[in-house]
Symmetry: C2
């Protein structure tokens, strides 16, 4: 994106028509609290991973109604002149708190809390949900893959299976949960994520023979490169590879067949020829379960594509952005009143909330506590909300490495069953603590 990029139209039309209505009625200027949370975790997962915070803060910075944007709204009669005038001046001036990026979440966790006027807060709904729903879905799946890989490095390589810009965000989300590298160059450029990749079957087929192709690759990339050995006959390819590269060969990649059995055979073959340092990398429709099943195979790294970028069965998490409190008047000190839709089967709790994680003496998480009041500091209770925006000023920006570190810590804090692949209840219960029950 370039400097004159505006994110303001990544927005559902109804946000702006609501704005117009609220400007008319005056409700636009009421102080409100919107909250982002999930009613449930997808697919019997034990925890979710908060991701998208950094990208949301960038989108917030770029959320402004410049002349081309206003012209579109005007030419298409989407809002009236007084609304256009209001939008032209738009800068979010309120406060935002959120769970730290990379932290885990549970049903009801208030992962983003937006406090500002109704007008300035409601129009952020769509872009905030798009970013968090996508990135958290990818991160929630990715985190399980990292656990399944049990210390072996993971390469994110799913760009081709998802929208070209989702691909960049997916690489970011995977990296923050512990993936080692990505194939996506734009993710490398934009976020500084290490990139990886050497060659595909097309490279072998473009040459006269596998030997011709391997020679070309070794010439160009050196013996430390990884050769793809399953275009024709794996064993023959591995022998050719060692013959050409010697014991210094960086790695071989398997992309098809019975990966576990083939990896074992290839490992033996490499070792027999003294290439004991050559890594065996496997790719090809891997997900967290396939990764776990390969735990006993002599594999040095996994490449994951489709399953990663599609959230391994859950391409979106059902985060919602709900108005939970509003003032009746428009004075800054008017009392915030809880509000909620009357909903069957979708319990919504009105009122501003605060989230904390309770830990036992061993530092293991035992509960997610959601308060209807700002809680006192307490030993063994970790407050989860960070200040992201302070009176309109973005203060929560942090390097991606901070989110990566945070995820590691948050995951380690969860009880052991959270890190099992099997489905079940959330790893810890969510407890609602009311000041006045």
């Amino acid at each position: 994106m370039t400097d004159d990029w505006s994110s303001a139209l990544l927005t559902d039309r109804y946000e702006l028509t609501m704005l117009q209505g609220a400007l008319r009625s005056g409700a636009a200027h009421r102080r409100t609290v919107f909250e982002m949370f999930a009613r449930r975790l997808p697919d019997e997962r034990r925890y979710g991973v908060v991701a998208g915070t950094g990208r949301f803060l960038e989108a917030l910075r770029d959320f402004r109604f410049d002349t081309p944007t206003l012209d579109f709204l005007s030419d298409n009669g989407i809002v009236d002149d007084s609304t256009l005038k209001w939008l032209a001046e738009y800068r979010f001036s309120g406060d935002i708190w959120g769970y730290g990026e990379g932290d885990v979440y549970f049903p009801g966790s208030p992962i983003l809390v937006v406090e500002g006027t109704f007008a300035e807060s409601v129009i952020l709904e769509t872009v905030a949900l798009s970013i968090f729903n996508h990135d958290s879905a990818i991160a929630s799946a990715a985190s399980r893959m990292v656990t399944a890989a049990n210390g072996r490095p993971l390469i994110e390589m799913g760009s081709r299976r998802t929208h070209e810009m989702s691909a960049v965000a997916a690489a970011r989300a995977a990296y923050l949960t512990g993936f080692a590298t990505t194939s996506n160059l734009e993710a490398g450029r934009r976020y500084g994520i290490p990139t990886a990749g050497t060659s595909a079957h097309a490279f072998v087929l473009a040459h006269d023979s596998e030997r011709h192709a391997f020679t070309a690759q070794l010439d160009a990339l050196g013996p430390e490169t990884t050769l793809l050995v399953d275009t024709f006959d794996v064993d023959r390819a591995v022998r050719t590879a060692i013959e050409l590269a010697g014991e210094k060969l960086g790695g071989v990649r398997l992309d098809s067949g019975d990966l576990g059995a083939t990896a074992a055979r290839v490992r033996d073959l490499l070792d027999q020829h003294g290439a004991t340092g050559t890594r065996v990398l496997v790719t090809g429709d891997l997900d967290e379960y396939a990764i776990q099943a390969l735990a006993i195979a002599p594999v040095d790294g996994y490449g994951v594509g489709t399953a990663l970028v599609t959230g391994s069965g859950s391409p979106t998490v059902s985060l919602v952005y709900k108005l939970v409190a509003r003032a009746r008047g428009t004075a800054p000190d008017d009392r915030l009143e809880p509000v909620a839709k009357r909903s069957v089967g979708k319990p919504s709790k009105g009122g501003r909330k605060w989230g904390s994680r309770r830990l036992d003496d061993q530092g293991v998480a035992t509960a997610e506590i959601v308060y209807d009041h700002e809680p006192e500091e307490e030993p063994g209770v970790r407050p989860l909300l960070r200040r992201l925006v302070d009176n309109g000023e973005i203060v929560g920006t942090e390097p991606l490495s901070a989110a990566r570190e945070r995820h590691k810590g948050a995951l380690a804090e969860l009880p052991e069953e959270a890190r099992r692949m099997s489905g079940g209840e959330p790893a810890i219960p969510t407890l609602f603590e009311r000041l006045h029950p």
Copy 2:
């Protein structure tokens, strides 16, 4: 995107390291054919929908290695200086053919055929697959929803459940299959898709009462607006709505509960009060099956979100981009030789291909024919490849309305069982016709 946007890094790193190897060996300059096709349809679908062609041609136009892009590649040691020099001059100079956007496809259909040097063709793989895999997944699901809606209008409103840029592409893909409108304003601006949307529960809750909110909305948007009536009590809300707006009320929207039963009750209520022209719109976790189940309910339109943007269970289609032929020398008239990976369970057919659809006397499709040679014109056989790029010049750009019309025609041509919601075999078989069997 703005003018200085480059799509060149929406690319897997290995495309560029392959380029470097092939420049070293000389294979870079061999003439090649790459083909995009699917080995299967997802989820027992009867047909797939080609979407993304227009977006791919835009990405191709913007696929150039400008100075910041080259700097990134150089600073990170991704390719060597001679490769950087080659990339700096890069413009695709070959030929591309493709199925018309909006047409349907089957296993083996050569939906994109790229002919050029290995170097210039291989590096388009990632961005081409990202675009077609995403857009075709959405369009393939959307087309079934349009069939299920049986003439009733569909609103695409899934932006919040997918990456913010995927949302824009999803709106485009849905529109080309026959959706009436989108909630996404950027899709409106970028592609001229009609936008829709009026208000959410937050609007009602921001006001003192539902009556207060309805009054504000009617004041701001006029009586033709659609009021959301399920925040508290539907029947009471409908009565309030008619009381305030009169018989001219444009519509009411239901977003929760038993949509069929509630729609019937609301329809009666509206009719009793003379609001016979007021439309009843339903939203809330609809997919093609839920839409079909509402066929007998008095519903005037459907809003579809999550199921649309996640491809209704298939968020990606497994399109691949494979080298199928290459010359051995680098002279322009060197013969193209078929090539293919030796693959267990993944039959790949080498050689350039042409696709046609065979129709019977009634104009009903009976087979997808994939030739290994350019077929003669024949009555009752519709050739499916359009020229998209001619010697590097983009010639296949067309308005989105053309893809929308084409989809309508292609779908109508399929046998009736193709339009059933139930799973099964592809609606027509794919036949491979060899010149020299």
